[in-house]
Amino acid sequence: MTLDAAWAVDWTRRSAASVAEHRDELVELDRQIGDGDHGENLSRGFRAVVAKLDALDPPPATVGDVLRIVATTLMSTVGGAAGPLYGTAYLRASKSGTATELGPDGVVALLEAALDGIVTRGKATVGEKTMVDAWTAAVAAAVDAADHGAPPSQVLAAAARGAQEGARSTVPLVATKGRASYLGERSAGHLDPGARSSELILAAAAEAAADAD
């Protein structure tokens, strides 16, 4: 089983739906340790992405084509730190998704490229209470699954579980990057909103892949 452009479109639509559904939760998480705009910004961005996809005829041919649209639309509508971070993640992922169909290694490469983009743009490392914590755990789990011969949908399922664990791991951390770092010790005990949205987006990828099977 492989994943194609239709999967990427489905992933994107599910991401948009999930981010919209969790908008208020993301706002509240960000309100606690940031300035409360994450849910609003990301749902505004994904609404614009879906509108862009709806207007495309013919539909994009490759996973990379879909992800490039996501990247440019998020960069031009989200703002804040999330816009450039997710935008760069999707842009790098799009460059690794140029084949018409992705196998397990292709999925791993895509996730690694996304993480690499986030790290390059945000200059954060693991343990600083950012979305990097979710993505790093997701990539590690995906690599492990692929190494054990899992098909793409299982690789993404592992990535989604990894992201969830990575996001949860941010709760006790003291933030040293991003807006939450201004809280210092007081940032501990809160789930990082960027890690949480990353978890939602990777869960959407896994759900879309499960349906494609």
């Binding site: 409360g36 989200v78 703002g79 730190a81 990057k177 201004y182």
Partner: protein, 331 residues
């Protein structure tokens, strides 16, 4: 939430629509993408000055567009930095052929988006230099955070760099004087209440009726600690002392004192703070030779104040005094 808005999604656009209608002699508002330029556009041969950031801090930055200050300002959504595809056209619109200086407050989102925009503008052949304002002394251990935030000191950077550009300095010189202001300006703020962000619909952070947050940024995000209710004089001392200490200001020096309201505090209270800050500086032998008191870098309807001190020399004083004609600052 009780606010004079129609739809939270439309606040920024509708506000700028009104702004454009009210001040056609000073500014022009571009809607797609959204940015503000001075009326008449770029001045040929003059270094262009561009700043921007989340909306909700008015008059920053749109109120400082005009002769003697900014050539363009780029507002994002409320408390959210603008996007590169807004900033890059604003840079292009501000370029009179002598290059553009961007003045960016040190917030992760602002820095990322302005950097990306500068790369886009550079690819279009426009020379862009950037200064990052990081005047907020509330952020301790800045090695372990995203660094000090850019807050009310930004007004001084924009005013003085604007005057340097207006008198014909080249891009390197304007960037150098802007950096000199950044190096010599410090700020600390406090909040009596949180503000209400339109798309959140409630207070932006939780603060008890008997609590005061010391060391806020311009979104209310904290920096140092919370204290109970105290007198204006005691609170002013808590703001001024770290500012002057960090600046290393000593007796015999001259300074500009800016007391900035966060949007919801009456001017009378700002002057109470000014009075005490002035006395504290005098006690240290620092001569306040220039002053500004009012709401310049706000957080919507937050009650609170910040105290900014800029070390002055003859050149910075002359540039501060140079004529300015914007909607929020003019002399």
């Amino acid at each position: 939430m009780k606010k004079l808005i129609n739809d939270p999604q439309d606040v920024v656009a509708e506000s700028l629509e009104g702004f454009a209608l009210a001040h056609p002699d000073v500014v022009q508002v571009h809607t797609d993408p959204l940015f503000v330029t001075r009326a008449g556009g770029a001045v040929p041969g003059k270094v262009g000055l561009v700043s921007g950031g989340g909306a909700g801090h008015e008059p920053l930055h749109t109120g400082f567009v005009g002769v003697g200050m900014l050539d363009a300002a780029v507002p994002g959504a409320v408390f959210t930095s603008p996007t590169p595809d807004q900033i890059a056209p604003a840079i292009a619109a501000a370029d009179g052929g002598a290059g553009v200086l961007t003045i960016v407050k040190n917030y992760t989102g602002d820095v990322l988006n302005f950097e990306t925009a500068a790369e886009l503008a550079d690819a279009d052949g426009i020379t862009v230099r950037q200064v990052v304002v990081n005047d907020d002394v509330a952020v301790e251990d800045s090695l372990y955070t995203a660094g000090r935030r850019g807050v009310a000191g930004t007004v001084a950077v924009e005013k003085i760099a604007g005057a340097a550009a207006e008198r014909g300095d080249d891009l390197d010189a304007v960037a150098a004087v802007a950096q000199r202001v950044v190096d010599n300006v410090r700020t600390m703020g406090l909040a009596l209440t949180a503000c209400t962000v339109p798309h959140v619909g409630g207070p932006s952070f939780d603060l008890g009726d008997d609590e005061i947050e010391i060391g806020i940024g311009i979104h209310g995000e904290p920096g140092r600690h919370r204290v109970g209710l105290e007198s204006a004089d005691a609170l002013t001392e808590k703001l001024l002392t770290p500012v002057v200490d960090d600046l290393g200001l000593t007796g015999g020096e001259q300074a500009l004192l800016l007391v900035n309201g966060m949007g919801g505090t009456p001017l009378s209270e700002l002057y109470v703070v000014y009075r005490r800050a002035r006395a504290l500086l005098a006690a240290r032998g620092v001569a306040v030779t220039r002053s500004l008191v009012g709401n310049y870098v706000t957080s919507l309807d937050m009650q609170g104040v910040s105290v900014t001190v800029l070390r002055l020399d003859d050149e910075l004083t002359a540039l501060w005094d140079a004529p300015v004609r914007t909607t929020a600052l003019r002399w």
